[in-house]
Symmetry: C2
Subunit: 346 residues, 2 copies
């Protein structure tokens, strides 16, 4: 029987325990040093501080200093770590990986590889695998999936993508339930580019929500136009990286952008700036309050990536919305004027 | 100079007068028998009853019995009539059409042609044109565009599609402003299928909003999965009819579905049913209150169309979400169970 170790006890890692337990898997949930309070709460039978909901009692819970126990006999590992910490945490996990293990990652974003190039997250993992584990399949997870809704069992559709489709199928068979629906795919690049970029573009959708406060009337037309422009630019980025369009117009791209544009911190950051707050003030406030907005770094990673791809001829010309996002967040460009110009250019 | 006659003084017809007047066109707004009160209010200098906003004083206003005056010297005609009345109203307009006129239509939906086949709306217009006017170009308008936001000047992007791209460009040059942005295209079929179907699928997005009331927790994951499934089914329908994917994943499809899923009557009908009201009761209530929900008829038109296309081998298999929508609205199938099954099938 499968033994699944979940690395990271935040909202998404913990949530995925639910369908796994429903299917009778052994689930070991390991918290990082930052998750100590979460593990403590859960061990004492209280609600998860993020979902405000109790989790199945069958989950085995491990503190940061118990990684060896958490990884013991593990047949499957799910990495649910924020993108900026993924590489470092994975380095701690690697010594415990068994041959034959399958790894899945729900982290979203980009990072620099050891050559200082911007790459998708599976590449960050691959370069940390020792020679004898180079063949370990890495399954990436995409699609519109709020963690709390997995816990509450709202019907959800997600994609598990792996170059080795059998590894994706193997994971599907462990975790698919009547409400957590898994679609397998081979398009790792398209999936990863989509899930990383949707956080960036969700900030732009937030702008349009903020414009309502600034101008006194809705900007739903603007928001939907930005949604379409975001898809078009994501298709260009994904193509240039070697990904497939189906992921961008499917669950990882259009689906996840839709849900991210409805609510969440990425949208909120955009809403505050769209509403009239100076970008630098909005970002300082976010930093002061110790709030991580993935879209903020995703915008700059995406922008740099687009510049790399333009230089190498893989993208023909600038991506106006991504450029505007970068100028607004990192150069304090005026938001309303910039976005109006983007719509005008398309 | 262009003389543009707008046929129908409802929300959208009236709104399009704004960019035209901004560009210095002569605009003649003609109301049907149902628009008498609107024309009266506007003539007396009051707000348009739909947008609650005054319109430019330069607009020439005409009552239903003044169609001849409204059409005098008309170089461009915009049809802004509900889909079910479009053919009949157009028959009244035809005798006044001048050679060289360009027609645009913002109506959305399907109708039966004279052979009782379901067709897109430009075909309804074409079969009513006399021989000498057969060459008159018909431009179809798609994209996320709430009428009141055109009046308020929220930046908006729309598509003007015509087989004769020069006719689309001609209209663009009249109506494009710094906020009402027109993209020209040749894909009439993809545009029309998208704008018709998005009303149908917006009902499904509404279901997911209603599920929150029924279950006590959000179903954003469900809504986004339905969004993606809707796009996939719209792509199949459009392909089968001879349309292009770019329209479905662009402004007329994804863009308009996004805005329609955020608010409006189509979504509201879905929300009420998703919330637990028996479909037949919800629809009866809608009829009693004399509310037209375009998505209600669009679901059945779309369903019948899909059956036609399956029979002729143009679509390989049933479209699960469209079938579920039809079963829920016309056969009182249980909404939550049906939608859960659709997600499971994809």
């Amino acid at each position: 029987m499968a033994v699944v170790t979940i690395i990271g006890a935040g909202a998404m890692g913990s949530a995925l325990a639910v369908p796994l337990i429903d299917n009778g898997c052994t689930v070991k949930l390991w918290g990082t040093e930052l998750d100590g309070d979460i593990i403590k709460e859960l061990k004492e039978g209280r609600e998860h501080p993020k979902h405000k909901h109790k989790l199945p009692v069958e989950i085995e819970l491990y503190y940061a200093n118990e990684l060896d126990k958490a990884m013991k006999n593990s047949t499957h590992v799910i990495l649910a770590i924020t993108s900026d910490a993924l590489g470092k945490v994975f380095e701690r996990v690697v010594p415990y990986l068994n041959e034959g293990v399958i790894i899945a990652t729900v982290s979203k974003g980009y990072d620099y590889n050891k050559n200082d190039e911007i790459v998708i997250l599976p590449d960050i993992l691959k370069e940390r695998l020792p020679e004898k584990l180079k063949g370990v399949p890495i399954v990436v997870v995409g699609g519109p999936c709020k963690a709390n809704e997995v816990v509450f069992k709202s019907p959800s559709n997600v994609v598990y993508a792996c170059e080795d489709i059998e590894a994706a199928r193997n994971f599907k068979q462990l975790i698919q339930t009547d409400v957590y629906n898994v679609k397998v795919d081979t398009d790792v690049i398209g999936t990863e580019v989509s899930v990383a970029m949707k956080n960036a573009y969700a900030v732009a959708l937030g702008f349009a929500e903020g414009f309502k406060q600034r101008k006194g009337f809705t900007h739903n037309n603007t928001k939907s136009a930005l949604f379409v422009i975001a898809l078009q630019e994501m298709i260009q980025l994904s193509n240039a990286m070697g990904g497939e369009m189906r992921s961008v117009i499917g669950l990882p791209g259009a689906g996840d952008l839709e849900v991210t544009g409805e609510a969440g911190r990425n949208r909120l950051l955009g809403e505050v700036i769209g509403g009239g707050m100076n970008s630098f003030d909005a970002i300082q406030k976010m930093k002061d309050e110790d709030i991580t907005v993935e879209g903020y770094s995703a915008v700059n990673f995406g922008y740099q990536l687009s510049q790399q791809l333009i230089k190498t001829g893989k993208i023909e010309k600038e991506l106006p919305l991504l450029n505007a996002l970068n100028n607004i967040l990192y150069d304090n460009a005026e938001c309303y004027k910039s976005i109006k110009e983007v719509l005008n250019q398309y």
